[in-house]
Symmetry: C2
Subunit: 242 residues, 2 copies
């Protein structure tokens, strides 16, 4: 069996958020990442493979040629399998625990890394502003390496959420309180801003606390830390003592 025109059309369309939303579907690629989704609560829609890796026991699988996989894959080096999964329903917004909130993160690689970090550090929920990159974007799915299956991610009106939560809220800034000297609570919302513009002004207004990672270099010229590496350091600080 080979790829039908309709399958090809569907797969191509899922590169766009508009069609992912319309169909409620997204794409995962490669043996390892697909396996993580298959072993999770995510529901498989269809799967396309070159070499059979036990995929015959699943429903809706299609064997395709290496050339066909190359045609539908977004990876530089396609890796045997491409699967379409259903986008799960979002969980309810949490008002307790430790939450990371993203204010318009643009770069899919950064979002993928942050999802992996949330998974590693056991973050209870990742809340994204409406303009944050879609977490079912192919690049995010590949960069998060299956962590998407274990992190609760919610897209919402961030300002509204922050106004209404009773958790202490931390703004990550270039000139906030030294994180190493701050007493950090176990339950909080840690807000990370856009790569170029930081946290937007209207969001900043509703936050209670500020934190920064101090610079140790002698020369005070270093560019700001990348948002994903800054998130790594701050999650480490919040979690190590709590």
């Amino acid at each position: 069996m080979a790829l039908s025109k309709n399958q090809l059309k569907l797969i191509t369309s899922l590169q766009q958020k508009k069609y992912r939303t319309k169909h409620g579907l997204f794409i995962a690629e490669g043996t390892k990442v697909v396996e993580e989704f298959l072993n999770s609560n995510f529901i498989l829609d269809q799967l396309f493979f070159v070499e059979n890796n036990g995929y015959e026991t699943l429903n809706n699988t299609t064997q395709i040629s290496e050339i066909e996989l190359k045609k539908i894959s977004l990876l530089k080096t396609p890796n045997n399998v491409l699967a379409i999964f259903k986008i799960p329903a979002e969980e309810n917004l949490l008002n307790n625990g430790f939450i990371v909130a993203l204010d318009d993160i643009n770069d899919p690689g950064n979002l993928g890394t942050i999802i992996r970090l949330c998974d590693w550090f056991g973050v209870d929920q990742l809340i994204c502003s409406k303009n944050t990159t879609d977490c079912y974007n192919a690049k995010v799915v590949q960069a998060s390496m299956g962590s998407l299956t274990r992190v609760s991610i919610i897209y919402t009106d961030l300002l509204n959420y922050l106004k209404n939560t009773s958790l202490p809220k931390y703004a990550t800034l270039m000139d906030g309180e030294n994180v190493y000297k701050s007493k950090l609570p176990k339950e909080a919302v840690l807000v990370m801003g856009n790569e170029a513009n930081g946290i937007s002004n209207n969001v900043l207004e509703v936050l209670d606390n500020t934190i920064s990672i101090p610079r140790f270099g002698n020369i005070q010229q270093t560019e700001s830390l990348n948002v994903a590496t800054a998130t790594a350091i701050l999650l480490s600080e919040f979690k190590r003592l709590n």
Copy 2:
């Protein structure tokens, strides 16, 4: 004036390490990154610009067209200027201070991020095994955002260096000592391993101590942390108390 054939040939050749080494030259691109190199001790060889940003005061500059820049640029969206700088002589290997050592880091993005982190945290020297990606690779230059001008980077026989240094040596592993519970010295060598294979066995044999970043997630399935985010967290731990 426009690009000569020889200039075009030189620029293209510098995409390969072989020719960077032969000519002792590398390429930096974009207004911001080029400015960081111009404001440093690095020596300019030639510079090509579309719009003049005060470049006329420099020697060996050539005005080129947008189309020519597109032809020689490796960036998706070329940004006004491409410059060729001389590769500086390496400094002497340090036997004191805080050193990061890389055992065969492959990914240019990871190396660029680590160089930025070394700059931020004031690491005294970055020592790379001979098989670590070349720091004058175009992707590393762009990812490190000018931090290359402020970090002392040395490529050497890593095993030999580690055998001979009297500094305490830390191996970053998946199952080492909990970094949050370790007493970390001010002066040390922190060794980070290859993305896929970790630290090689012969290097591991000469290291005194091991450290790990503990996992906080409930489900014990998370992939290992990316080497650049792990470096971020460990540098934060070594530096915050010292």
